[in-house]
Symmetry: C2
Subunit: 431 residues, 2 copies
């Protein structure tokens, strides 16, 4: 086995450092499993002077990513620079040149995945992106290969570690959102600007990628209905707990009658559901398939080595294909199926109202729900005299009916504010 596959890497931040470390540390086993030696020969970075502690020769680094892509002695491109450009153009160029590409770029794949895949198909080379969704968790390959003979009905994921960490601490400590967020920022679990995470945008990007693959269609990040966890409060979590639920930020994608719905939002999830016990910064993806039934894939959703492990797994795959002049599995035909609007969603809802503790409040609220055809399953009052809160759980209703109900509640004289509205994902799961 004296064949060598030469790798060029674009970017060398957290994930790139993990990739370089793993390639060096596991070199012998990787050679045995690939059938060739994998050599990381060139890395494009912004600052070639910086010591990255990777023990690579100084000549490995360059500031010109295009030169790495175009170098004749480089066989495989690993893109870990992130962002849509120049990453997208560099990947397209590599594919044009017939070089397989492994990317960890969630943002790029979420916005242009099906188009990039079409470019890879046209060029007849592999494009792999296991690391773009849920870090170390093998989920792209199971969807694309293990379930190739099956039909996916629903994908539900805890796809963002920061928000799951925050919600877990809120649940286990009874703490408030702002307090836990500040602490998470201090501990490095949340960014100084946490918007991408707490606003649900990071999870939405990953959910778009999973939906495109699972349902053989084209879903872009912007197609995903997205709500964050910023307004989830301690009362929501306490009420959920009392009713047998936990509050989780879920990415949910499903296909019904050929139309695909994709949404990310906090929701009540039954405690017995496999996803409910996913704690802290871990991610998990639950997949329901026609034949396989309920599957779940769990693990770290981020980090240098976990994400690096997924990248290196992909590199070994494409290298093996290259050695055999073969191609990896066909992923999906990426048709363009209709999207279901969030308005069409039918689920249960939890509504928390700050009310005056006066006679007639409940009657006024109940009448408003009834007028809009939304049926109430449970209602009770929380809190003391001057700060009463009304908790309502509805039966299944359409999202648009619930929204007009809530809009009609707001101006009622006895209602101080609509404190929370959360979806209750009670009935859609088989277990």
């Amino acid at each position: 086995m004296d064949r060598v596959i030469r790798i060029g890497m674009l970017g060398c931040g957290t994930v790139g450092g993990g990739v370089a470390t793993i390639l060096a540390r596991e070199s012998d086993d990787i050679t045995a499993r690939t059938g060739a030696k994998l050599e990381l020969v060139r890395i494009a970075v912004r600052d070639t002077a910086r010591d990255r502690g990777l023990g690579l020769p100084a000549g490995t680094f360059t500031t010109d990513p295009l030169s790495v892509v175009e170098a004749e002695d480089i066989d495989v491109i690993v893109e870990v620079m992130g962002g849509r450009e120049p990453a997208g153009s560099l990947i397209r160029r590599a594919l044009e040149l017939g070089k397989p590409v492994v990317t960890a770029n969630k943002e790029l794949v979420a916005h242009e995945g099906p188009e990039l895949y079409a470019a890879a198909q046209a060029a007849g080379v592999d494009l792999a992106y296991e690391a773009a969704v849920a870090g170390a968790i093998p989920i792209i390959k199971p969807l694309k290969e293990s379930l190739a003979g099956d039909r996916v009905l629903r994908v539900v994921g805890i796809l963002n570690g920061t928000t799951n960490y925050i919600l877990t601490r809120m649940t286990e400590e009874g703490a408030d959102y702002a307090e836990v967020l500040a602490d998470a920022q201090a501990l490095g679990y949340a960014e100084a600007d946490p918007t991408a995470d707490v606003g649900g945008h990071d999870a939405a990007a990953k959910c778009a990628i999973l939906a495109s693959l699972a349902f053989d269609t084209t879903v872009h990040a912007d197609d995903v209905f997205t709500q964050g966890i910023e307004t989830v409060n301690a009362t929501d979590i306490r009420v959920a707990d009392r009713l047998g639920y936990v509050v989780k930020l879920l990415g949910i994608a499903s296909e019904v009658d050929g139309r695909v719905g994709v949404r990310v939002h906090p929701a009540f999830l039954p405690k017995a559901h496999p996803l409910a016990s996913v704690r802290g910064a871990f991610n998990a993806v639950y997949v329901e398939a026609a034949a396989a039934g309920e599957l779940m894939f769990y693990g770290p959703g981020a980090g240098a080595e976990p994400t690096g492990s997924a990248v290196v797994g992909d590199v070994i795959d494409v290298a093996r294909n290259l050695l055999q002049t073969a191609r990896g599995a066909i992923e999906s035909q990426h048709r363009v199926k209709d999207l279901r609007s969030i308005d069409e969603l039918r689920t249960q809802y939890y509504v928390l109202l700050d009310v005056e503790d006066a006679p007639g409040v409940l009657a006024a609220v109940a009448t408003t729900f009834g007028d809009h055809g939304v049926s109430i399953a449970q209602v009770w009052q929380e809190g003391a005299e001057d700060s009463a809160q009304l908790v309502l759980i509805t039966h299944r209703a359409r999202e648009d009916a619930l929204r007009t109900t809530v809009e009609a509640l707001a101006p009622l004289p006895s209602i101080r504010s609509v404190a929370s509205v959360l979806r209750v994902e009670a009935e859609v799961f088989a277990s």
Copy 2:
């Protein structure tokens, strides 16, 4: 795409029926994803007259499995007959003829997997067996491919649905083993002769397969230290619960300093561990890897369509390779690493003793533990006057020291019987 891959199937029981059903139902998508039409053209069965309700032409069936293997117009062999022979000989013959084989045969792979893989390597054809372990759960492919660049440190599995169902009901209902087993048999969750399941042998076979793959070695089913759940009683489960554990039948494989330990037994598992929330007949495999960290794969461990889904996923894989005259991923070099004896295990133990409620009992028990160098972490007495029970939790101790301790306890005059000894897997897990 007018290429056709012709499949011959050996056996048509539960799993075979699932395979045939899925191949027919998902035919269009399978063709798109494979790049060829998969046709199930011949099936070897014992009784060709039986109507299997699969809508296949009568001429599909034959009683001669070797004729299916040797037929020139058959490209891929699917073996779902089970048992070591004639399945093993038929698979070897197919490999000799250069035909890729997909098998769901746990017993065969657990006893001869590395040797069969060597035969496949020698013949240059694929041998796939995703369905042999944990039904629908993709675990072979993640270990072989997704983690090809990583180093597996430990594999811990709930690998048998029957025992997990029984233990879950015992936990949730406080019920006794015999009672739940009888009910499980009535409901079809347990066989009339439940020995293979409740004795841990089924789990041991799967654990051998996982260990061989994860640690690049050769572990046969007979190499696995195996204990069943027959002696687990309601007190064990109640004590575990009180201390923050659940009782699970675990398959545990790990490599330490180049030596591999593989064992199956009931154990106390911390409630916060991801495997602890796996309920009922579900299976799950927890994998700890050097770079990826903690992963878990969860799903149905048996059943016609779940297992069929895994078989069809493998068939698509080998068919795609066949179309490209390529091979699937190299799995492992299957070296022969030394096995660690169970005697060398160091863990905590739970010991339940039926004792006379007389002065001096505890002193005698404590002295015996001390004499054998086993240190007691917690001890308390359960139950009423004439049926007192002493519960002990040890600090970490070697298995052989614990065993000689227990042997020395049995003859003590104040001890009526050693009711239970279970391992407490508290410290070995990162979370």
